[in-house]
Amino acid sequence: MEMSPSVESPAVRWVARLRDLGLLVALAVVVVVTAFRSPQFATAANFQRILLDISLLLIVATGETMVVLTRNIDLSVGSALGLVGITVGFYLKGHPDIPTGLILAMGIGLGTLLGSVNGLLVAWGRVPAIIATLGTLSMYRGLVFVQSGSQQVNPQDLPARLIALARPTALHVPWMVILALAIAVAALLFLRFSRTGRAMYATGSNPMAAHLRGIPTQKVVFVTYLVSGALAGLAGILYAARFATVNPASAGMGFELQVVAAVVIGGTSILGGRGSVVGTVLGALLLGTIANALAVTGVSGFWQRAIEGGIILAAVSADAVLRQHAPGRRGEHA
């Protein structure tokens, strides 16, 4: 998904911008097939559940999209989510009356702090992103255990108002989902219309050229890590709200792979410069829908993983094939 339009007519250009067509097709196939197999799938309640499920993923993947656009990666998001969840969770044990807004702010603040470590290491420490964030992946996870003494945060430790964020509102859509969508839309606009957003594309497309153009690449990269950390922190709080439990060994464990999967399946290039939040939303939606569909259709537990892998491969293949035959695109140059 590239933001820069190509030579063709506006209509063709619009279709090309929906490069995520392949993903949409894959998504549609999954939905239709599942709906036929299970009457419980295509219900309002179940779609709400899917949305709840992906909103955590989407929030973190939105930040990751920015990081990846600058030709970097943030593998520490799962650990950061866990660390923030545990830290704030334990704090809430002693302070049950804190307003929800403040709890969210604490999560964002703490996450930003964790993100800034990554940002400093990558932007100014010149540590390659994968090494820096593999390092903080381990370190933050270690801190989760240290912080919690290997104890988990239990439902009775968390304020009911926090947990209510994951419950349906009057409009039948939980706050968490609304929040996730708002964040995605904000990021979309930011990337398309703000100078910093464009600088992210430029930095990822050619870091050296960006530097020579006087784009403050280091600041830009730093900002993406701040955003990624802040959103992972927010997700840490929402994780506690959704599951009412924060376990040091499982909260956010391996989450980074899902997040990166949503981003790259959504078509953002891991070499930077190309991609969009729209793709990431579709990627997250696809992953969330597959997981839900497998659970709802009652496919044997033994088959779920293989089918999930198969669907992901099929989806990205369909996407790649459609893209190679898309109008005005020359496969050889892609």
Binding site: S4, S6, S194, R195, R198, A202, L212, R274
Partner: protein
Amino acid sequence: MTPLSVEAVLATRGLTKSFSGPPVVRDVDLDLRPGEVHALVGENGAGKSTFLRMLAGVHRQDRGQILLDGAPVEVSSPSVAQSYGLALISQEPMLFPDLSVAENIVAGEYPVARPVPWVRWGAMYLEAQELLESIGSNLDARQRVGGLSVAQQQMVEIATALARRARIVLMDEPTASLSPREVDRLFGIVRTLIKRGASVVFVNHRLEEVFTIANRITILRDGAKVGTFPTSEITRDEVVRRMVGRDLVWLYDKPPSQAGPVVLEVEHLTRRGVFHDVSFHVRRGEIVSLAGLVGAGRSEVARAIFGVDPPDRGTVRVDGQPVRMRSPREALQAGLAYLPEDRQHQGLVLPLSVAQNITLSILREVTRLGWLRTGAEEAIAGRLVERLQVKTDRVAQPVEQLSGGNQQKVLVGKYLVTHPKVLILDEPTRGVDIGAKAEIHRLMGELAQQGLGILMISSELPEVLAMADRILVLREGRLVKELSPDEATEETVMRAAVGALDGVPEGTCGAG
């Protein structure tokens, strides 16, 4: 040290820079007067690019001073240089392949709305398109930069520098892959810039261009300044002698060639929207040149023959045998070799050494049972480095550390060792200095005499006229004219390239 002249907008004193070995720019004093076009010339590796990069904040000098309007300044980064009103058009295009042409042009200085500063895309496209038109390019501002030809990228670079409204424009071989029409346009722009009060430093190996546009010439040799001369007070021969430090035969006089049987036959080659029904042949011992404007589709034809972008229709035969044009590998096996125009991306593996690059296409010859014979490899590389006068410490030096022209020589060397039946050369002497250019021409002549068929693409008309046994002119993807050396002059070729009618059509760029 030269005393400071009051009127210099930009001056350097004792500027020195070294990388790992001895200094590559040594104690250079230079004064740039307001409203002047100041040419900087020297052999490949003389230090011209390094000098400009110091001015633009890309490299920091080891020693010496940079003065703006007489006051010393620290140009510590490219953005500082920009804030001083300096803009660099670099030798290798430095662009964002994933972004549109327009964004490339304005990047960093987007038109924004008030009071909320969101990027106004419509205004941006409009501005960029106007700028492109003003330099005679009709590239689509909305097009992605990745996939543009080198010349087209160079046009984008030029537009970028113009968009900055810089006071001092540093141009590092901006014309290296431009054809005469684009060069004329560029000179028009330079004159406009000068009128607006800007000053220009201009690096170029094509001396005729230097003498057309420059007021003064500074000559560098091995990193040191030889002298600065008003253009009116020095001759070309004199410039060359001072550049090289000795007398030099710098023109290769190609003997007439003996054309043998047809070795390459191209029939009805078509790629929709790019080129149409292109048919021609090349005989053994013949040098055929493909001429045309930037974007006429010359490189595209060559790439199709070589199997890079397979054509929609048409056949290619080598020695009468059809070539399956599906990959360069098959083309190479059929006896074709293609020297691409984009040396940084398609030609060289920059981090690998000179020797490793030269043997990349002939690894079989330096391997025994899968084992690399580094000795043999270095011997082959050593011979070529000597022959082409590549300025390098050792054949084990990474190519990315060479100057642009020396990289080009390595690239030429890499294709000379492949022993093809047909050699396609796309801008083979881009950025190469006069001495080495003559050497490359001599090599081409020798290869032709050995019975190779050579297809040469060049934007430099004197080169085309000097080397070609036949000239094919391509315009907007169609072969419009074939000229023999007797008929060919700069004028006849250009007339065919822009269109027989003198109303020069404005749609010659971006065949797509």
